[in-house]
């Protein structure tokens, strides 16, 4: 599920001793097991979801009508929901995370950088149900206040429910910031000092050093963090289900209730009947496909952005 950042190729180990060989075989066996498990995953999902694919055809991907009462299952609203929430969250989270990472690694004095960095790592480790509770008790009331204000200013009538697309985007942003920030901070810290000095020696100001010497060097790693964040945003289920409003339609406004691929599975699987279940499994399969695609694109982009000679 979670995309990985490619690590630099290692030199292969020599095979000159017996115990090395045994070790090698164990590693190869375990790695193959992981591969087989992944393929099996996909296979189980595609078989389980087959009835839904067969019944809806291409409409499963591109149809807007999800109506369990009538037995119609078209998943575009959820694909769109996943897309909007994930990219909306990144739009907010990436600038904030990179700015925070730059602050910690380049500006903050050491006594401040350490604690702030640890706090961010801690945030990344909080279970998502806790974020969901925070969403319900803090975020939703706050969004409600905003909605009341919005209605009073614009006159557009809107029930201040607090739940909906915007809340989901905000909670996802909060959840991925620690990831992206922690990784960005690490790669920025790893930028060799001679890159900073090269820029300074040309008469760069601090900000120019960041633009010329640091960000270009760190961009591949930062992008790796962004894609990890994207993976989490696409897959995040619990917290999103708790705040998104769970409506089977594409959001028509930022406040509208909607659902994502993960949230529809989570909120329906428990009581799914014989026709709904395959549809949910099929959505699960699509989720797997999306994750693989994100991962592959990530690898390509990261390889191309990595500075030559530092790979």
């Amino acid at each position: 599920m979670t995309p990985t950042i490619p690590t630099p190729p290692r030199r292969s180990f020599g095979m000159n001793s017996g115990s090395d060989n045994v070790f090698r075989n164990i590693i190869i066996g375990l790695s193959s097991l992981v591969l087989v498990a992944t393929v099996l995953y996909g296979f189980v999902l595609i078989v389980g979801g087959l009835p839904a694919f067969q019944r809806e055809g291409i409409g499963f991907l591109f149809g807007l009508n999800w109506d369990p009462g009538k037995g119609i299952y078209q998943a575009l609203p959820f694909i769109a929901g996943t897309f909007f929430t994930a990219f909306g969250a990144l739009l907010l989270a990436v600038p904030l995370s990179v700015a925070a990472a730059l602050f910690i690694s380049e500006y903050a004095p050491r006594w401040l950088a350490g604690p702030v960095g640890s706090a961010i790592e801690l945030l990344a480790a909080i279970p998502s149900v806790v974020y969901g509770l925070w969403g319900i008790f803090v975020l939703i009331p706050a969004v409600r206040v905003f909605q009341v204000w919005f209605v009073s200013v614009t006159g557009v009538p809107w029930p201040p429910t607090g739940t909906g697309l915007m809340s989901a985007v905000l909670i996802l942003a909060v959840m991925v910031i620690p990831f992206i920030c922690a990784i960005s901070r690490d790669v920025i810290t790893l930028v060799p000092n001679d890159q900073r000095e090269a820029a300074y020696a040309l008469g760069a100001t601090k900000w120019e050093v960041i633009r010329f010497g640091i960000l270009p060097y760190a961009r591949a790693g930062i992008l790796g963090g962004v894609i990890l964040g994207l993976g989490r945003a696409i897959g995040e289920t619990l917290a999103v289900t708790m705040v998104i409003g769970n409506a089977n339609v594409i959001a028509s406004t930022p406040f509208s209730s909607t659902a994502t691929m993960s949230s529809i599975i989570a909120s329906n699987f428990g009581e799914a009947n014989e026709t709904l279940r395959p549809a949910l499994i099929a959505i699960g399969f699509m989720l797997l496909v999306f994750s693989v695609i994100v991962n592959v694109i990530a690898r390509i982009v990261i390889t191309r952005l990595t500075p030559v000679g530092t790979r």
Binding site: P192, D194, Q195, R196, E197, A198, A199, Y200, A201, L202, G203, A204, T205, E208, F212, G213, P216, Y217, R219, L305, P307, V308, G309, T310
Partner: protein
């Protein structure tokens, strides 16, 4: 020039004041409490190559980095005394270190091109920082600087290739070209050839002879042959002190201080 300099005897004033470009007055440099460079007075004349030699850890790099105010970036580092460029104290009130670094270029021990930038963009970086956007002007300066760094012929057909795709020696010449592009008055070089093969080293040594037409060079080296080949004056540092400064040929044939003699004859270092 060499002859004229040989005629002026005492080391500290080898160079007549009229032509002095860079001068340090009672410069001491501290890392926290530790005094790494002690009370150094030395001056360098226009269009000369000046070598700083001495055993490892004696303060050569520390002194060099004071000249373009790199120590401003090191927490705990402190410079006292004056460093004058054309009579203006680089550490004076209201002097912007960014400005100082634009006028005093630096080449580092390990080639450090910007690896995500093309050869062209590496050379143009300093100009772009200074706000130059005119494509024609940039093209012109990039070519002139690459010629200045003796690299033009090797890279003119692949200016868009990444700077890091060059060999180590070429990368160092790229860094020289990058420093030259902003038209500095002084060029500081910290053991610029210590990471390079002999052939690349001799190319850069040859280059210095031409470079001094346009800049005053201060070069740290712990290679005595290099100092004697490329420099007009030599300053010998020992545990933070400037022990001896003088015309290179004179110092290598007739050192005044016992420690200098021991060092250049290879008895320690």
């Amino acid at each position: 020039m060499e002859n004229q300099m040989k005629l002026t005897p005492p080391p500290q004033s080898v160079i007549s004041t009229a032509a002095v470009r860079l001068e340090s007055q009672s410069v001491s440099i501290f890392y926290g409490e530790k005094e790494a460079v002690k009370n150094v007075d030395v001056s360098f004349k226009s269009n000369t190559v000046n070598a700083l030699i001495g055993p490892s850890g004696c303060g050569k790099t520390t002194f060099l980095r004071a000249i373009n105010r790199m120590h401003d970036l090191t927490p705990g580092a402190r410079v006292t005394g004056k460093i004058m460029l054309d009579g203006n104290d680089l550490y004076g009130d209201g002097i912007d270190p960014v400005d100082v670094r634009r006028r005093i270029g630096m080449v580092f021990q390990k080639p450090n091109p910007f690896p995500t930038m093309s050869i062209y963009d590496n050379v143009a970086a300093g100009l772009k920082l200074a706000g130059e956007r005119n494509k024609q002007k940039l093209d012109e300066v990039v070519e002139r600087s690459l010629r200045g760094g003796a690299l033009w012929d090797e890279v003119k057909d692949r200016l868009k290739a990444p700077g890091s795709s060059l060999s180590g020696g070429q990368q160092q010449r790229l860094c020289i070209a990058r420093a030259l592009a902003v038209d500095p008055e002084i060029l500081l070089m910290d053991e610029p050839t210590s990471a390079l093969d002999p052939q690349s080293t001799s190319r850069i040594e040859d280059l210095m002879e031409t470079l001094k037409q346009q800049v005053t060079i201060v070069i740290v080296t712990h290679n005595m042959q290099q100092a004697s080949r490329v420099s007009d004056t030599t300053s010998f540092f020992y545990v933070g002190d400037l022990v001896e400064h003088g015309v290179t040929s004179e110092m290598f044939t007739n050192p005044k201080d016992k420690r200098t003699e021991d060092y250049i004859t290879g008895r320690f270092g």
